[in-house]
Amino acid sequence: MTSLMALVVGVLYAAAIYMMLRRSIVKLVIGLVLLSNAANLLIFTAAGLHRDAPPLVPDDAQVPAGLVADPLAQALILTAIVIGFGVLAFAVVLIRRAYEVVEADDMNQMRDTDT
């Protein structure tokens, strides 16, 4: 399972980078979406894929009984998803505004500020 996930993560990263190297700014944003998902899936895989009980502590105990899954990795991913969502929402609005101003969906038309 871990090798399969590793493969998926790798393909996602590769696809993200490919999309970001295209000239179209729409594809650029798609690349960013893929990249943030690839990172989330990487955390999920790296933290270990186990079939363990949910990390619930019984009423009369201080620690959960037996082996439990690690909830922290999922908390991290959840935080990263929320942040990623907000930032991508900004990026989508940005390319829309950029498209309105530049009137082209092409990075090659956006070289005014380059040196």
């Binding site: 650029l28 990249l35 690839a38 933290a47 990026a91």
Partner: protein
């Protein structure tokens, strides 16, 4: 819970929230900007004094004990950085009052500025690697919005490059955090440092390099600096100054923190990469600046080249404490000077209506005081004694000589010379040569606040230069703290590792 460590984050957050509530009243927003800036300076000074006395101040948020909860840690480096960000923010607040138009204020300039500072200070103070990522994002989102405030074409083009590269950097940072968590199972930086020592895996180097690239992009180090000169000259000049002073330095701070605390410099690969990165950053930055003829672009390229000096201090840290102290001194000097130079460029724009060197001129004749106010930070940047930049360069280079890194020392000296060339170019074109025909006349409105801000920062530069000894003692103490990670670990985890 220790209020001193939390205040530098709480003050801008509160000011930002209040500023958002009072967004219909210009007076409320302006007052909040000034009060927030001054309160931040006071709290930062208190934090630095307390840190100087106690060594490390640790605050466990929600009283969850480390390494389970998130901790805020203030050591000398963090406290120095918070003070610098506070000074820059206060200066920017004053400058913004005199320069930001009503339309931009209505678009939410002041709340965003406060939010940006909360992110920056949070990044300086946190002791948790995932929390560092979150603060980076807070800072980034605020900076994205500030960058495009106004919505001109150049801003959009610059913002696309800025946003893309910073998001790539964030994704790499997040990947590195995920892999690190998989390896050691903890996020507390002190705990990571302990546990990583027990792991012997090739993965450590991979993670270290991922951090290096992620923070290298944020710090605009070679070869990841292209977003900076493509975007920093596009927003309002107060925004440029704030970014130039603080944002790349957050990347540099993260490099300093991660590569002293978590990854030791004894790994020859890390050492070599940092050495080459430092040298190439310096040289490419300054050569880029030499080819530019736009005021703010020249300054932007100089940010890149100056980052090289700070990285040089870090790269030589394992061989020479003095080099690391020099790097910290350099950050102190650089933040003040660089923000000030951008402020001066804004004043020139208000007087002449252009940033292009060709269309400027004759300002020495019209405004001799402004010329003097430019010369102080410009000569300081180039490293003329007795200004602050001279001591920054001197200490870093002295550390390089101690470490025997002759090639890097030669590069640093050469870059100093080329910096002087760039500053002379601005001086000759903007101030010395005769004004070209049909020069635009001065913009209406009072510039007193702007002059006061520039003069205040210039005074600080002179003060750092004349009183270099106490600043050096402070940087050396900070460097010694950084080079002994066990102090940090004991302070956070509460026992000897």
């Amino acid at each position: 819970m220790n209020l001193l460590v939390i205040l530098p984050i709480l003050i801008p957050l509160a000011a930002g929230a209040l500023s958002l509530l009072g967004r219909h009243s210009q007076r409320v927003q302006g007052a909040l900007a000034v009060i927030g800036g001054i309160a931040l300076v006071i709290s930062a000074v208190a934090l630095l004094l307390a840190t100087w006395e106690q060594g490390h101040i640790v605050s466990e948020l929600g009283s969850w004990p480390a390494p389970f909860g998130i901790v805020l840690v203030s050591d000398l480096l963090a406290a120095i950085m918070v003070l610098l960000s506070a000074v820059t923010s206060a200066a920017t607040a004053f400058y913004s009052l005199g320069s930001i138009s009503i339309a931009h204020r209505k678009a939410g300039y002041f709340p965003l500025m406060h939010l940006l500072l909360a992110g920056v200070n949070g990044a300086f103070l946190t002791g948790d690697i995932f929390n560092l990522y979150v603060w980076f994002e807070v800072m980034l989102v605020a900076s994205f919005s500030l960058l495009i405030l106004g919505g001109e074409r150049a801003q959009m083009e610059g913002a696309i490059k800025y946003v893309t590269l910073n998001l790539v950097s964030s994704a790499l940072f997040l990947s590195a955090v995920g892999l690190l968590y998989g390896l050691v199972g903890t996020l507390n930086m002190a705990d990571i440092a302990v546990k990583l020592g027990e792991v012997d895996s090739g993965m450590t180097t991979v993670i270290a390099m991922l951090f290096m690239v992620a923070f290298g992009i944020k710090a605009a180090a070679f070869p990841f600096f292209f977003w900076l000169p493509a975007s920093y000259h596009t927003p309002q000049v107060a925004v440029s100054a704030l970014f130039a002073g603080l944002l790349t330095k957050v990347g540099v701070y993260a490099l300093f923190r991660v590569f002293t605390l978590i990854f030791g410099m004894d790994d020859p690969l890390i050492h070599q990469v940092l050495l080459w990165g430092a040298g190439l950053t310096m040289v490419t930055g300054v050569l880029g600046a030499a080819a530019q003829f736009e005021f703010r672009r020249i300054l932007s390229f100089h940010i890149v080249s100056q980052i090289g000096y700070m990285m040089m201090g870090l790269a030589l840290a394992s061989v020479s404490v003095l080099a690391l102290a020099g790097g910290i001194f350099y950050i102190i000097h650089h933040i003040i000077v660089k923000a000030n130079l951008f402020f001066v460029s804004g004043l020139v724009y208000r007087l002449r209506g252009s940033y292009e060197l060709k269309q400027l001129g004759g300002l020495y004749r019209d405004k001799p005081w402004l010329a003097l106010l430019f010369l102080i930070p410009a000569l300081s940047l180039a490293g003329m004694p007795p200004l602050s930049g001279f001591f920054g360069k001197f200490i870093v280079i002295r550390g390089g000589v101690e470490a025997g890194a002759w090639a890097l020392v030669a590069a640093a000296l050469l870059v100093g010379l080329l910096t002087l060339y760039s500053m002379t170019k601005i001086w000759a074109e903007v101030f010395w040569k005769a004004a070209p025909e049909n020069t635009a006349c001065a913009a209406s409105g009072s510039n007193t606040l702007l002059y006061a801000t520039v003069a205040g920062l210039a005074l600080i530069t002179v003060a750092i230069g004349l009183g270099a000894q106490p600043v050096l003692v402070l940087s050396q103490a900070a460097a010694e703290q950084l080079l002994d990670p066990s102090l940090y670990i004991t302070a956070v985890l509460g026992e000897a590792p």
